[in-house]
């Protein structure tokens, strides 16, 4: 599903590469934690998958496509197959829960009948039944992140990228968020989650990829956050 082949990314005017010779495979419907200190290259990794950045060297395949050969005007089609969730939710403050989720479908030109059908379904999936008319500022952090997850998932992407989704949320609420991510993963969606949250990584026992200074220092199935060897 995601294939990195000897990928190096160096930002202009920076000596050390943000990612260096990274080679790895993430299979369909895998759940992968991406761990490592700040500046270790987690965000760069996610941005490369979205083709927001281009690798300096190496090749990247996402959902069967060679990103180097993907023309700019086809990038949107790639992104329709990838959902994204962020630490800061990125909801539109002037739209309610339903409108925020529907927005993702409206802007890719989906018919209204389709939107009316799938948005309530996904609201149920993330556990926000009865809150479809709330505005973001009337919701708790955990609820806002559920809206963001619903928006990321409403178009049934094959991959879901989550960049520290529990970063702004207390541990108790985080469990709920992880349950939603797990539920999404069980539908066959590949989930890649960058995180600092050791407790979550340890409790989930999923594959863990650890980055340090842009290099993969550990790749463990059923791993934990800390050094396990």
């Amino acid at each position: 599903m995601i294939h990195f082949d000897n990928v190096t990314k160096t930002y202009p005017n920076q000596g050390r590469p943000a990612l260096e010779n990274v080679t790895l495979d993430i299979e369909k419907s895998e759940f992968v934690f991406l761990v490592g200190p700040s500046g270790s290259g987690k965000s760069t990794f996610l941005r490369l998958i979205l083709k927001e950045e281009r690798p300096t060297e190496g090749r990247i395949h996402v959902a069967g496509r060679d990103l180097a050969r993907l023309t700019n005007w086809k990038v949107p089609h790639l992104r329709r197959r990838i959902g994204c969730v962020f630490q800061d939710f990125r909801l539109l403050p002037n739209k309610n829960v339903y409108q925020n989720i529907a927005f993702a479908l409206e802007v890719i030109g989906k018919p209204r009948r389709f939107i009316r059908k799938v948005v309530p379904e996904v609201i149920d999936l993330v556990g926000l039944e009865g809150k479809r008319d709330r505005m973001p500022d009337e919701l708790s952090g955990g609820e806002q992140q559920r809206v963001a997850m619903a928006r990321a998932f409403v178009n049934r992407p094959t991959i879901l990228l989550a960049d520290e989704p529990t970063g702004n949320i207390d541990p108790a609420t985080s469990i709920g968020i992880m349950k939603v991510l797990d539920r999404i993963n069980r539908t066959g969606t590949t989930v890649v989650m960058a995180t600092h949250d050791a407790a979550i990584v340890d409790s989930m026992r999923k594959r863990v990829i650890e980055l340090e200074y842009g290099k993969v220092v550990r790749d463990q199935s059923r791993g934990v956050y800390g050094q396990a060897y």
Binding site: W73, P76, R81, R90, E106
Partner: protein
């Protein structure tokens, strides 16, 4: 494509930076009106020019008994008239020669200056010379050789080229026209910069929406469309105002100006409509392309 969705986004954008939108509409309106006025002026000048072009001739005024021209020695004689006519007819540049006798010239004078009775009253018929009115093959080039060959013949008081009188008049009109067009161009540049700035502000105001649109895979066109439509709507309203102003300019100013030209050179409604349509195309084109190009720079993938 979801028209309703795009329009609601456009409405949000226009409302959020209302002051800039108003400024934009006003500047577009003024610059298009000036451009249109310039174009109307150009048309007026062209019409006037072509009207005169077909009528310009060379007038050879003959001596009267009171003539003080150096060449004159009393009134022109019949023999002199005949020989001048022969000389003119032999010239290859001359198409036709019409003799205007003194009584005819007096009648024409009275008719043309019917608005100035005092002038007519105090001009004695004997002061008005008889003349030859000459149509030239080429009004511009042939005037000088023909003048040279006739000037100085006995009985010829003065050779007057109508074109040389009209040229000063044309210079005046051309100058006014150029001034209006230059001002309009400056304003159009200002309009372009304002469109760019407004769209940039709008893009900044909506950066959340835009970033989410890109994230969920909206096509570039879909991301840019609301901004494009926003610019074009502002351009359209500016044009509406300018169309009103142009109708007013034509009705109040140009029609007033035309009353000074007694020869029926008028601008038709078709001319006005044509100018207004050109203004519409210019307005939409400028606003559309500018917002599109501005966005290219600010919303790059």
């Amino acid at each position: 494509m979801r028209a309703q969705f795009v329009l609601s986004e456009v409405w949000i954008g226009l409302r959020r930076n209302l002051t800039m939108t108003i400024a934009l509409v006003v500047v577009v309106a003024i610059s298009l009106s000036l451009l249109g006025t310039g174009l109307l002026f150009v048309k007026q000048v062209d019409n006037t020019r072509s009207y005169w072009q077909s009528r310009v001739q060379l007038s050879v005024y003959l001596c009267t008994s009171q003539a003080i021209d150096a060449n004159c020695n009393g009134a022109v004689t019949t023999a002199e008239i005949d020989s001048i006519q022969q000389a003119l007819k032999s010239l290859p540049e001359v198409i036709s020669v019409t003799y205007l006798s003194q009584p005819q010239a007096v009648a024409l004078f009275k008719q043309e200056f019917a608005n100035s009775p005092t002038l007519v009253k105090y001009t004695s018929p004997s002061q008005i010379p008889s003349s030859f009115e000459i149509r030239l093959r080429n009004t511009q080039a042939d005037a000088i050789p023909v003048t040279n060959s006739v000037d100085g013949l006995p009985g010829v008081a003065q050779v007057v080229d109508d074109a040389s009188i009209l040229n000063n008049f044309y210079k005046l009109l051309d100058g006014a026209r150029t001034a209006v067009v230059i001002i309009a161009i400056f304003l159009l540049v200002a309009a372009i910069l304002l469109v760019a700035n407004t769209i940039r502000l709008s893009a900044f105001n909506r950066r959340r929406e835009t970033s989410i649109m890109r994230l969920v895979g909206a096509s570039n066109f879909y991301v840019q469309l609301p901004f494009l439509v926003e610019g074009m709507i502002a351009g359209f309203f500016g044009w509406l105002i300018s169309a009103g102003l142009l109708v007013a300019v034509k009705a109040l100013w140009l029609n007033g100006l035309q009353s000074y030209f007694p020869y029926g050179v008028t601008l038709t409604t078709t001319d006005l409509v044509e100018v207004i349509i050109i203004a519409l195309i210019m307005g939409l084109l400028i606003c559309g392309t500018t917002s599109f190009l501005t966005l290219r720079r600010y919303l790059r993938v």
